[in-house]
Each structure stands twice: as structure tokens, then as C-alpha cells.
């Protein structure tokens, strides 16, 4: 590494970038920069990226100011080609024939020259590389603004500051020339900010921009604490909202606001959704845990001196609550049951018809699931009938994320029994792997019926997800179904489902057991290969396998089973009767007897689904199996004996594999 380094700073000034894209973009920005510098043999020192809605900033602490000089060997013609060729090669490379070297290669001796390559200036390398690097940052949805063939980026780039040491790295991108100046906050700062590397953050802050996300987060948190001091109110934490606001602002300042007590009569779900999702306010609790008629908004401003911002936000909230109250009251005038027919006008999916049709299908499926679980069908069916009716209410049209929840609340107000309204209320759960499953059995059955219907009908018209394309969030639906089946202990066989869908669910089950439950992939493979009857059964087997695996006999036995599988495969064994008469005394007969004893005992434990005992007993087969392989040659010269031995192994393998296919277990002693 050369001695001379300088700090490098690149600031891209962009019109407001969508908040959720900033962090991923910074990661890519840094990766592309490191890659480019490595390709150019330049050390960078520590690299740091920062972002606000209006700027993406990359800083390298100690960038080498030029590449090291290096030597390059240029190969010429083979020596055998003669003098003429040598002279030509020398001429082409501007050197005297006498300066040519001879290089020995495996193909013979060759003429060559050693050429010194002077390292290039970093400033020049950066100027050449940065336009391409910047436009390579990937975005979920890019745009053009200088014309149809112009540069594409997330939003228009309006200024670029690029400084290496004190010098500008000169380049142009989308008609913007790089320069030395930055810009401040739209309202709080200057349009031209002169800075140097040491004063950059400080100068920005003076101009209303807190560059570090960490500092913005802290300013919000401290500000909220200060606002709440002595008020007897508690913040309802919302980490996702906090992150949104950190990347929606350059200078965040929380303010306190209130609304009229009378709105607390509205369902809390509605108040909270309006405040958090639609207005991006934090909500507050009183000491008794009830919702407080106050909120915290975060401005992109230093102070609200005249109280205009508070007043404005309070007025907007009041208008929204007024709307919500109007919807709540007018929606209640028409019963959910009367609304069901209107679902004929609500599209589920263009190829799949209306929500009325979906409702009919979900109802039938919920009834069938309830029947196979031995659960009374009445409440489930009623809930399925009404579940989608809230899509026709003004409240859900306005606050779509409250679908289901509103249906449940309206059903409650309209006197539906608790089992019914709760099932409707919860039937979209779980929406993510962090969500709980519905608390009631009715809710679980309805949720499962709804998700399976969505999956099955989409699959039936060829809308299965492919690669990263999953516009109908079918993976999420399938994941939810798996979670419901396992955590809801719903013993439903997957057999009834079409092959493609069953595979899809099994794939999601693998994901769930591995990523969410932290189980080993080979254990999951072993259990699923044994085709458990349902997801609850699969979970029980996995649990047992995980524990038994830790006992000493297990892994060597698994290795032997892999060997058995290979032997059977190589012999292309297609089954056959085992004739005990043909068994040789000694390890062969002993294995037969031991296996018969063990399998009979396993059979008994399996009747009570005691997988732990079953597997533990299977593990005791190890010494007999080991002795068999030590002493017995499966490929006996006598064909009848050979077939009989294969039959013995086959029987053992099949019976043991009906719990978990041991040969799927990856062991350190596995030999293929």
C-alpha cells in the first residue's frame, strides 16, 4: 500500500427517496464502491455510508491517491519463429530487439518484454468509474427524468459533491456536474454549503441536516421522552414506524398533539390504524393501559414555534376520525349478512371471479375441515359466510388493513355470537411469521380454509409463484397455512390437495421448520421423506429425532442405513419374500431376530405415536447391524442366499424408514 492517502467523499443529492429503499440502497452503494476500488487495486481505509431522504453519502477515510506502479510481462512470438518475428514484436512494443527477454513456458521458449505500468491517479479512476457505479445501484422501481433515453435512478439526481482530499473528482451524470458543495435542508438550510472533510457533518447539521440515522433516531427518542415527562402517559413502542420516520426526515423533531375524548368511543383498532399507519403518529397509553387521546407526530423541522404544525396535525386527525365515525355509524346500518350478496361486485381476482364465489368455496372448505377435526361446524360456517362482507363497508374501503378486524367488530355489534365474531376478526392471521395464529379454533379453521382456497384457486389457473415473482403473496399464504397446521395442532392430511400445491406446502413446511423453528435440514428431509400423515405428526417426529440424534448409537446407525440404501439401489432390489430358513447362524440370524424384536416393540410404541421411544429402540439395533456388516457378505455367490439377504435388509430399511428416513441424515462417518 502506498503511503499517500486522502479522504474521499461522495454525496448524491436526490429528490426525496422512498424511505424504505434507503438502507438497502446504501448497502449496494458501499458494495459497488468496494468492488470497483478492489478491481483497481486501490485501498480505501474505512468506508462509511449514510442516507437521508435527500442524499446518499459514501465516505472512505483513506483512499490511496494513486495506484502502485506495476510490471507487466508481454508475451511475444515463440523463439522458434525466428529473428524477423522478434524484430516485429520489438517494433510493435517500441523497444530494441536486444531488450527482448526469453521466457520458458511449457510450450517452449518465447520472446517477451517486461513493461512498467505506471499507476493511475485515483481521481481519474473515480471520475471514470463513478457514473457507472452510481447508476448500477439497484432500485425496486426506477424512473427517467432527462428524457426517454436518459439515466434511470430512483428519483432525479439534482447535485453531486465528490471530493478526494480537497480536489473535486470531476464527472457528469444526468446533466449534473460534480462539485465541491452540498445543500442543506429544504427549509432550514442554505442551497450552497461549503465544507471540508473534517467539518462535513457539522456543516450539514448547521444547515438542518442530521446525516447519521443513529443520531436522528436518538433525537426522536429523546424528544419523545422529554414531551412525555410528567404527563403520566406511556409510549406504545412501534419500531417499524420509528425507522420509517428516521428515513423520512433530515431533522426530526417530535411534537405532542391531542384529540377530543369522545373519539375514544371508536374501536381502538380504528384509532390506532389511522394514527400509526395513515398519519405516522405514535400512539400513547394512560397509566391504566387504556388508549390516551393524544399522539406524537414527528416533523421534519427544528421547532413548531407558533404551534401551527401541532394544530394542523390535530385538525387532520380530527377530520379522519370524523370520517371514521361516519363510516362506523353508517356501516352499522346495514348488517353484514345483507352485504354478502354485494360481494358479487367485489373482485377477488380477475380470473377467479368475485368474493361471493370465494365466500361459497371457503364456507364449504371450512365445513369440511371442521368435520374432519370433529369440531362443530355451525359457528365456523356462519363466520365463513360473513367473513368477507366487510370488504363492502366504507371503513374497510378506507382502511384496507383493517379487513377482517372490522368484520369482526361489526359482527360483534350486530349480535353475532363470540365464536363467530372472533373467528372473523382473526381470520387473516397469521400475516407474517411473527404474527400469532388465531386464538380460537373457529378462527384457525376459517383462516386455514381461506388461505387454502386462495392457494388452490390461484394454482388452478396457473398463478403459482415463480422465482421472485409472487404477486398474490401465495408464499405468505402457504407459510401461514403451515404455521396454523403445526401450531394450531390441526391434524389434517395434505393428501386431498393437488400434487403441485402439496409440494408447495411441503416446501414452505421445510422453510418453516428450518428458519422459524431452527431444526436441522437433514432431520427435516428424513422426516418428510417418511411421509408423515400431517404437519402435527411431522412436528412430533422431528422433535423425537432431534433428541434421539444426540444419543451415541444414532449417527453410526444412520450411516449404516445409508449403506443399506445404497446396497439395495445397486442391486436394483425390487422386493421379495424373506425366507428365515435360508438365514445363516451367527450375525445374520442375530440381525433377523434382533430386528424382529425391535420392530415389534416399535410397532407398539407407534400405535401411541411415541416417536421418542420408537427411535430410541431403533437405535439399539446398531450393534447387530454393525456385526452383520462386519461378518456377512451380502453379495453371496448363491443367488437365493443373496436375494434373501437383500430381503432382510429391505424389510429393516422400510420399516425403520416409516418414521424417518435415516439415510437422509448427514453424518460425519457417512461414506457413500
Amino acid at each position: 500500500m502506498s503511503e499517500a492517502t486522502q479522504p474521499f467523499l461522495l454525496e448524491l443529492g436526490v429528490e426525496e427517496i422512498p424511505h424504505w429503499m434507503i438502507v438497502p440502497a446504501l448497502g449496494e452503494f458501499e458494495r459497488l464502491f468496494r468492488e470497483t476500488m478492489a478491481q483497481n487495486q486501490l485501498e480505501t481505509g474505512a468506508v462509511r455510508v449514510d442516507g437521508t431522504p435527500r442524499r446518499l453519502v459514501l465516505r472512505a477515510e483513506a483512499l490511496e491517491i494513486r495506484q502502485a506502479d506495476r510490471e507487466e510481462l508481454v508475451m511475444g512470438p515463440p523463439k522458434a519463429a525466428g529473428e524477423g518475428a522478434a524484430q516485429g514484436f520489438a517494433r510493435k512494443n517500441n523497444c530494441a530487439p536486444a531488450d527482448l527477454l526469453t521466457e520458458a513456458t511449457p510450450k517452449g521458449e518465447y520472446y517477451a518484454i517486461r513493461r512498467k505500468i505506471e499507476g493511475r491517479e485515483s481521481r481519474e479512476i473515480l471520475a471514470g468509474a463513478l457514473p457507472g457505479l452510481i447508476t448500477k445501484i439497484p432500485w425496486p422501481k426506477a424512473m427517467y427524468w432527462t428524457g426517454r433515453d436518459g439515466v434511470r435512478f430512483i428519483r432525479p439526481i439534482r447535485w453531486i459533491a465528490a471530493l478526494l482530499g480537497e480536489q473535486i473528482v470531476e464527472f457528469e451524470l444526468a446533466g449534473v456536474k460534480s462539485g465541491a458543495n452540498s445543500r442543506g435542508h429544504r427549509r432550514l438550510g442554505a442551497d450552497e454549503i461549503v465544507f471540508d472533510h473534517a467539518t462535513y457533518e457539522e456543516r450539514l447539521e448547521k444547515n438542518g441536516v442530521i446525516l447519521s440515522a443513529e443520531k436522528r433516531r436518538k433525537r426522536i427518542q429523546d424528544g419523545i421522552k422529554k414531551l412525555l415527562r410528567g404527563k403520566g402517559l406511556k409510549l406504545i413502542p412501534d419500531a417499524a414506524l420509528l425507522e420509517d420516520i428516521v428515513y423520512l426526515t433530515e431533522f426530526p423533531t417530535p411534537i405532542f398533539g391531542s384529540f377530543r375524548e369522545e373519539f375514544l368511543e371508536l374501536p381502538q383498532e380504528v384509532l390506532s390504524t389511522v394514527m400509526r399507519h395513515h398519519q405516522r403518529y405514535f400512539t400513547l397509553q394512560r397509566e391504566d393501559g387504556s388508549m390516551a387521546p393524544h399522539f406524537i407526530a414527528v416533523m421534519n423541522l427544528k421547532a413548531d414555534r407558533k404551534g401551527y404544525v401541532q394544530k394542523g396535525n390535530e385538525r387532520v386527525l380530527e377530520a379522519r376520525f370524523n370520517d371514521a365515525r361516519f363510516f362506523w355509524q353508517s356501516d352499522l346500518k346495514r348488517k353484514l349478512a345483507e352485504r354478502v350478496a354485494d360481494l358479487a361486485h367485489v373482485t377477488f381476482q380477475a380470473k377467479l371471479g368475485s368474493y361471493l364465489e370465494k365466500t361459497e368455496r371457503v364456507k364449504a372448505r371450512a365445513r369440511a375441515i371442521a368435520a374432519s377435526l370433529g369440531h362443530p361446524a355451525e359457528a365456523v360456517e356462519r363466520a365463513a359466510e360473513l367473513a368477507k362482507a366487510d370488504l363492502t363497508t366504507d371503513m374497510v374501503k378506507e382502511l384496507t388493513e383493517l379487513q377482517g378486524v372490522m368484520g369482526g367488530l361489526y359482527a360483534r355489534e350486530q349480535g353475532e355470537p363470540e365464536a363467530v365474531w372472533r373467528a372473523i376478526y382473526e381470520h387473516y392471521l397469521p400475516q407474517s411469521m411473527d404474527d400469532p395464529i388465531p386464538a380460537t379454533q373457529e378462527g384457525r379453521i376459517l383462516s386455514l380454509a381461506d388461505k387454502l382456497d386462495t392457494l388452490e384457486s390461484c394454482f388452478s389457473v396457473g398463478m403459482a409463484p415463480t422465482g421472485s415473482k409472487d404477486p398474490f403473496a401465495l408464499r405468505r399464504a402457504a407459510q401461514g397455512a403451515v404455521k396454523l397446521l403445526v401450531e394450531g395442532k390441526m391434524r389434517l392430511p395434505l393428501e386431498g390437495l393437488a400434487g403441485e400445491l402439496r409440494e408447495f406446502l411441503l416446501e414452505r413446511a421445510r422453510y418453516y421448520f428450518k428458519e422459524i423453528r431452527g431444526l436441522a435440514y437433514d432431520e427435516i428431509n428424513a422426516v418428510l421423506a417418511a411421509q408423515p400423515s400431517d404437519m402435527v405428526d411431522a412436528e412430533a417426529r422431528l422433535f423425537a429425532l432431534k433428541l434421539v440424534r444426540q444419543t451415541e448409537n444414532f449417527e453410526p446407525l444412520a450411516a449404516s442405513f445409508k449403506r443399506i440404501r445404497n446396497i439395495l439401489k445397486q442391486a436394483a432390489f425390487e422386493g421379495g419374500e424373506l425366507n428365515p430358513e435360508l438365514l445363516e447362524a451367527g450375525p445374520e440370524r442375530e440381525l433377523y431376530e434382533e430386528a424382529s424384536r425391535v420392530l415389534a416393540s416399535v410397532e407398539q410404541h407407534r400405535r401411541s405415536d411415541d416417536y421418542m421411544q420408537s427411535l430410541a429402540i431403533i437405535a439399539t439395533l446398531r450393534p447387530a447391524v454393525d456385526r452383520f456388516f462386519d461378518a456377512v457378505l451380502v453379495n453371496a455367490p448363491d443367488e437365493a442366499v443373496r436375494r434373501n439377504r437383500l430381503a432382510l435388509l429391505d424389510r429393516l430399511y422400510r420399516q425403520v424408514s416409516s418414521i424417518a428416513d435415516f439415510s437422509e441424515i448427514v453424518t460425519s462417518s457417512t461414506t457413500e
Binding site: G147, R148, G150, R155, L248, T249, V309, V316, N322, H345
Partner: protein
């Protein structure tokens, strides 16, 4: 405090100073200012254009009989098109807010991602909703595509929701309480309009007739587009603007049928597709005619 109309005057004057043509509202029913030919057709092709106009926008399904303080069957938009978008378009927009008396150092302004898309027009763009103290006051869009055509110059479209904005400026809880001009409220001017059209749109519109109108306007628009495409000469004076009026009529009749609950799910997708086909047909023909008119290709 400025009246409703004074605020409109100020905005128009501001954009006039930026070199915009100040147009009058288009005289065919539209759901949004974007649908007026001054936007839909003018954003196509390579010719720069700057225009601003107030457009009453009819959304039959949003009617509330004049009973909801914030929802209207017909609301007014101030529509600004800057083609191409100047590099300081954001600053201009902020200045326009200052021009109607909003002191931006005393208010919280945020630009939140909100991309715009109209399947019926085959159009989409990238942009924001502009939030002022938590209230959405403007939709800011860089158009990327219109009538299925990638736009040569990505124009900026600013759409101010006038009732909302003025309710904010006048500190009114209901848009009906806005002072239109001294002594006359928004209610005085518009209440009957809201009430009667809600009654018509939701209860009385003749569904059979609406379907017939939709079919007639569709046929006429399609006939014109076909004729344009088939004609060898005389394309330069062909009435594509008339064809587009019929597309707008289709769209409005579709919205009426929708508000009346007369369109089934399967029909809905189909009708949107029919209107889009017309819009795309007119847009393609318009681009072709522009090239002829600019002398780029012979007529």
C-alpha cells in the same frame, strides 16, 4: 385570509409567471385533470409544453349527498404540466405554496412516496404525495408512460386538491364552510350539485341507457381510430381530438355504471380493457399525427 377564488387566482398567476398557458376547464366530464387532452395528449411526443388549469373532476362513486364534510362527487383540481420538468421543479412548487400564503418555515412538509397509475389510460408515473402538517395537499408525478407510450420528455404533473388546500388555509373543518368569495360559501355554490348528482348517480341513472351510451361512444371512438389508421392521406387534419372526447365519454359512463353497482366483476375488467384499448389507440394515432404535423414524415 384569501377566499377560495382568490387562492385559485394566485395559483394561476404564479404558474402564468412561469410561462404556463392558463387553460380553462375542459368541457367534457373527466375523473381527473390528467384525463383532459391538455394533459393526456400534450404529454405525448417531443414538443415542450407548459399548462395550468382548474379541472372539476367527477367521481360518481365518491358522492356523499353533500353530507360528508370532506368527500365530494365533484372536486376541483389545479392541474399543472411542465414538459419537460425543469431541474428546479421542486423549488417552483414550494414557491407556489409560498405564493398562496403558506410560510414554509412554520410548517412541516414531507414528500412521501406515491406512484400514480391509471389502468384505464395505460398511464403511470413516479412521485409523491406532498404532506403539509399531516395533510395531503398535492400529488406530484413524473409521468413515464401515457396511453401505453413511453414519454419522450418526462413531464412533471402537479395536482393540487383545491378544496382541501383552501379548507386548510381558511381553517375550516368542512369543505362546505369554505368562503368562496366574501359572503358566499362553498355550500351556497355547490351543495345542490353534490346532493342531486348523488341521488342521480346512486339511485336514478338509467342503467340500460348508460350501457347503450357506453357502446355508442366506444363504437364512434373506435371507428375514428380505425379510419385514421386506414387513411393514406389527409391525416394531418383528422379529428383525433373528437375521437378522444368519445373515449372520455366512455370512461365517464363506466364510472356512472360502477357507482350504480351495475358492473359485475367479470364485466369490470373487460370494460376497463375496452376503454384502455381506445385510449391507447388514440395516443398512438396522436403521436403519428404529431410527426406528420412537425414535418418529420410526409402526410
Amino acid at each position: 385570509m384569501d377566499s377560495y377564488q382568490e387562492t385559485i387566482f394566485k395559483l394561476k398567476r404564479f404558474w402564468a409567471k412561469q410561462g404556463c398557458v392558463i387553460q380553462e376547464p375542459y368541457d367534457v366530464e373527466v375523473g381527473a385533470g390528467t384525463m383532459c387532452p391538455e394533459t393526456f395528449l400534450r404529454v405525448l411526443g417531443p414538443k415542450p409544453y407548459k399548462v395550468a388549469y382548474v379541472q372539476p373532476s367527477r367521481r360518481p362513486a365518491d358522492g356523499r349527498y353533500g353530507e360528508n364534510p370532506n368527500r365530494l362527487y365533484k372536486h376541483a383540481q389545479l392541474q399543472v404540466i411542465l414538459k419537460p420538468a425543469p431541474a428546479n421543479v421542486m423549488d417552483l412548487y414550494l414557491e407556489s405554496l409560498e405564493a398562496i400564503g403558506i410560510k414554509l418555515d412554520q410548517h412541516d412538509l414531507k414528500f412521501e412516496e406515491d406512484n400514480w397509475e391509471s389502468p384505464t389510460l395505460g398511464a403511470w408515473g413516479i412521485g409523491w404525495q406532498v404532506m403539509l402538517d399531516g395533510l395531503e395537499i398535492t400529488q406530484f408525478t413524473y409521468f413515464q408512460q401515457c396511453g401505453g407510450v413511453d414519454l419522450d420528455l418526462a413531464p412533471a404533473e402537479l395536482t393540487y386538491g383545491l378544496e382541501r388546500l383552501v379548507a386548510f388555509l381558511q381553517d375550516r373543518k368542512s369543505v362546505y364552510d369554505i368562503e368562496w368569495v366574501e359572503g358566499v360559501s362553498y355550500r351556497d355554490v355547490r351543495f345542490l350539485d353534490e346532493q342531486q348528482f348523488s341521488v342521480y348517480n346512486f339511485e336514478k341513472a338509467d342503467v340500460g341507457m348508460l350501457w347503450k351510451l357506453l357502446d355508442l361512444h366506444e363504437a364512434e371512438a373506435q371507428r375514428l381510430v380505425n379510419e385514421y389508421n386506414a387513411s393514406g392521406t389527409d391525416k394531418s387534419r383528422f379529428p383525433l381530438l373528437a375521437a378522444y372526447d368519445h373515449v372520455l365519454k366512455c370512461s365517464h359512463n363506466f364510472n356512472l355504471l360502477d357507482a350504480r353497482g351495475a358492473i359485475s366483476v367479470t364485466e369490470r375488467v373487460g370494460v376497463i380493457g375496452r376503454v384502455r384499448k381506445l385510449a391507447v389507440g388514440v395516443a398512438a394515432a396522436w403521436c403519428d399525427q404529431e410527426r406528420i404535423l412537425s414535418g418529420e414524415v410526409a402526410a
